[in-house]
Amino acid sequence: MEILPILSAMRRNKVGAVLIALQIAVTLGILCNGLFIMQQRLALSHRPSGMVESDLFAIDNEWIGNPADVSSRIQTDLAALRALPGVVDAANTDDYPMTNSGWSEGVDLSPDQQTSSAFMSLYMGDEHLIGTLGLKLVAGRNFEPSEILDRGSTDRVQPATIILTRALADKLFPDGKAVGRSIYVEGGKRPTQIVGIVDRLQIPWTGASGWQQKYFEYSVIEPYQFVDTGSWYMVRTKPGQLDAVIQSARKRLLEIDRNRVIQKIEPVTDTRVTAYRDDRGLAVILAVVCAALVAVTGFGIVGLTSYWVSQRRRQIGIRRALGATRGAILRYFQTENLLIASAGAVVGVGLAIGINLWMVSSFEMPRLNVVWTLVGAVAVLLLGQLAVLWPAMRAASLPPALATRSA
């Protein structure tokens, strides 16, 4: 295929060609970044929390009138919940992952440290918590009943023992031997001994950037029963019995004592949906915009090329009469589009990287992989070829006899 005649024809249609190239460039710039953000947000919303989320639900329980014996009331409730048919285990905690509400503190390696070694989010629970949430203990041991103390929301105390996530343990003790070592938490001067490591347990917050993202798996469990007017009961059921147990749990708790508010009983899978709603929403919106963008650009190419074809009907007829095959006409328009789209794609790759760099500096975004922009470039070239196909085929089917007629 000769490129020179195409170029000289294009010179008579400069503006149209520039418009298509520009469209392709901006499309590529948005497409790469849009799909990149979309993929990030979807990945975010699928991060494992460490809990086995199926067959697990949470009860938001609040006592009315500040009763003095909350500790024993909680134990009564938990015993009743564990006795319900279909329940595997139940535990009391101050918060659980993905509620976006919790407690975070610095963690130190010596008692008089100026700047904390890391930030951790703490959960309070007894020996039932790990099993109820379905956490995987990978080193050390679980808490023992004798270690568990009561703790209210304004009590300032330091635990004697603690369980860490593997991520936090590795951060504090890169040699991988955290069990048995001591850390200093909650500003205390007293050492806290690490007794166990769980594989994963995400912090309560699910934000996409800043410390929430950075310290995502820096959680600890402290051996306390959280005793406050309000706390969460986590309940693990046998497979497939979640809905039935949710009904019976509410009924049973109200039978024990009506003097409470059960604000909600929520499967943990719903907690995840709520926590990542905006992230998934953003992903869907970006997907829709990207699809619309591709459609608009595609149809734009169809429209403009169709016009070019109709403008050149006579020239096409003359070429056909002089012996050009249908394939040659088809290739002419395809090559023309490829040239324009390539110019657009080159600018577009630069634009995509530029937009990404700007977002890196202003929105704490990660860097875009250049390979993806190249994939995107190939995709818009294919889009151009696809869009030009129909008008080009119409051009190829013009009869050579056109040359003999006036326009």
């Binding site: 503006v15 904390s116 009590d155 929403g281 953003l282 915009v289 608009v296 169709s306 403008q311 929105f363």
Partner: protein, 439 residues
């Protein structure tokens, strides 16, 4: 002439339905996408208390000092967004502003008097009496509690219209009682619909959602040890218990002052600096005074109410509009050049360039208007989509107002005219002789 050109425009658009539909669709889709995000963006950045936002000030005092590992917000000015209880109480006692209120959010169990109903949780705000006058809260029944009630730590409440519907079927409930966490409180007022967006006075949690269901005097809330909903940030460990928290440097109290003019604001700034100096002199602060007051607009900017995600969406949608306009421009160019002969004939019959220009411009205007109608429909659809896709907090912002409709029409028409300028100019340069000669 205008009517004639409009008629010509419609006839010309009908002649090439495919190109026309593509142009209108491109503009409509672009406008729909950009206006959907712009509508929400405008709501996020709107003035929540018009006419008064320059007189209301959030108060900040640095009570942590430079040695603290950084403010909770991580801002370089070392200021926290909230005050400690100690500072809030000192400012309330000094009482230098026209109106001022310390406040915090809580939540409590409400037990309805009807035994058939389950107890439920209500959102509580604990301010001083000035809150209501300062923020111009409208009352349906009754009135705010008075400063005597603040001083007496009275067991009184103000409830919202919605809660009044739920508990008292909308009747005037002033004088009736409400049971909160086992204690009876007397209703003194019912407030009418009042929902400043953003919820500027407390941006801790959902920034665009409705506020409290019920209001309790700050002094009473502290006596009852009503738990704190929102953020509590501490520089160091406090003593155990509620008293320990009250005497700590933990920050969790929002504080607002009404300062009606620049002189009052300057006085208040001086007062705050003096206060911090006194705290330094008394040995509580070991650093020079660092205080600030910010009016509502400055506060919203400082607290960065618009999420990054949304800024990105606005950028994406406007880039999309740009692509759509490039697209429409290309199609308009094609259309104009396709009509070179018609234009040539008109020119030969005596129409001047101005007439051709006007005709083409009106044709773009007609396309712009059609695009605006489609864009408006798509904006409505887009906002509906956002409502179903995003959290309640943002769904509150998806309402189209008249100004938005105006922006849609203005943006669509002006953008289309702009995109149509080059094709229009090209049309006026067509040489009549060439077009006539060809045949």
């Amino acid at each position: 002439m205008f009517g004639y050109y409009c008629g010509l425009a419609i006839r010309s658009l009908k002649r090439n339905v495919v190109l026309t539909v593509l142009m209108i669709a491109a503009i409509g889709v672009g406008i729909g996408a950009s206006m959907t995000t712009l509508t929400v963006f405008r709501a996020m950045g709107s003035d929540p208390i018009q006419g008064k936002s320059e007189q209301l000030f959030a108060v900040q005092i640095d009570n942590w000092g430079p040695s603290a590992s950084g403010s909770a917000s991580g801002k370089p000015d070392r200021l926290q967004s909230q005050l400690s209880y100690i500072d809030a109480m000192n400012l309330m006692q000094a009482h230098p502003a026209k109106r001022q209120s310390a406040m915090y959010a809580s939540s409590l169990a409400l037990t309805p008097s009807n035994p058939d109903l389950h107890a439920f949780r209500v959102h509580v705000r604990a301010p001083y009496t000035d809150f209501f006058a300062m923020f111009e809260v409208p009352f349906l029944y009754g009135a705010p509690w008075g400063s005597a009630d603040d001083a007496a730590h009275a067991e009184v409440v103000v409830i919202t219209r919605a809660l009044n519907e739920k508990l008292f079927q909308g009747a005037n409930s002033v004088g009736k009682t409400v049971n909160l966490d086992g204690h009876d409180y007397r209703v003194v007022g019912v407030i009418d619909d009042w929902q400043p967006i953003p919820k500027f006075y407390d941006l801790n949690d959902e920034k665009f959602s409705k506020g409290a269901d019920i209001y309790v005097p700050f002094t009473r809330a502290i006596d009852r040890q009503m738990g704190i909903e929102g953020n509590i940030n501490c520089r160091e460990n406090s003593d155990s218990g509620w008293e320990g928290r009250l005497h700590s440097e933990c920050v969790w109290v929002q504080f607002w002052a009404e300062l009606p003019n620049a002189a009052a604001a300057a006085d208040y700034r001086r007062f705050l600096q003096n206060y911090a100096s006194q705290q330094q002199a008394s040995g509580r602060f070991h650093w020079p005074p660092n205080t600030s007051i910010k009016d509502v607009r400055e506060w919203l900017a400082y607290e960065d109410v618009i999420p990054d995600e949304f800024r990105i969406l606005v950028l994406v949608s406007f880039s999309f509009l740009f692509v759509c306009l490039l697209n429409a421009m290309g199609l308009m160019l094609a259309k104009t050049m396709g009509r070179a002969r018609d234009i040539g004939v008109r020119r030969a019959l005596g129409a001047d360039r101005g007439a051709i220009f006007a005709q083409c411009l009106i044709e773009s205007g007609v396309i712009g208007l059609a695009g605006a109608v489609l864009g408006l429909l798509l904006t409505g659809l887009g906002l509906f989509g956002l409502r179903t896709l995003l959290s309640q907090d943002i769904a509150n912002l998806t309402h189209l107002d008249l100004v938005d409709v105006g922006i849609v029409i203005a943006l669509a028409v002006s953008a289309t005219l702009l995109a149509g300028l080059y094709p229009t100019w090209r049309a006026t340069t067509i040489q009549p002789a060439w077009q006539l000669k060809a045949n």
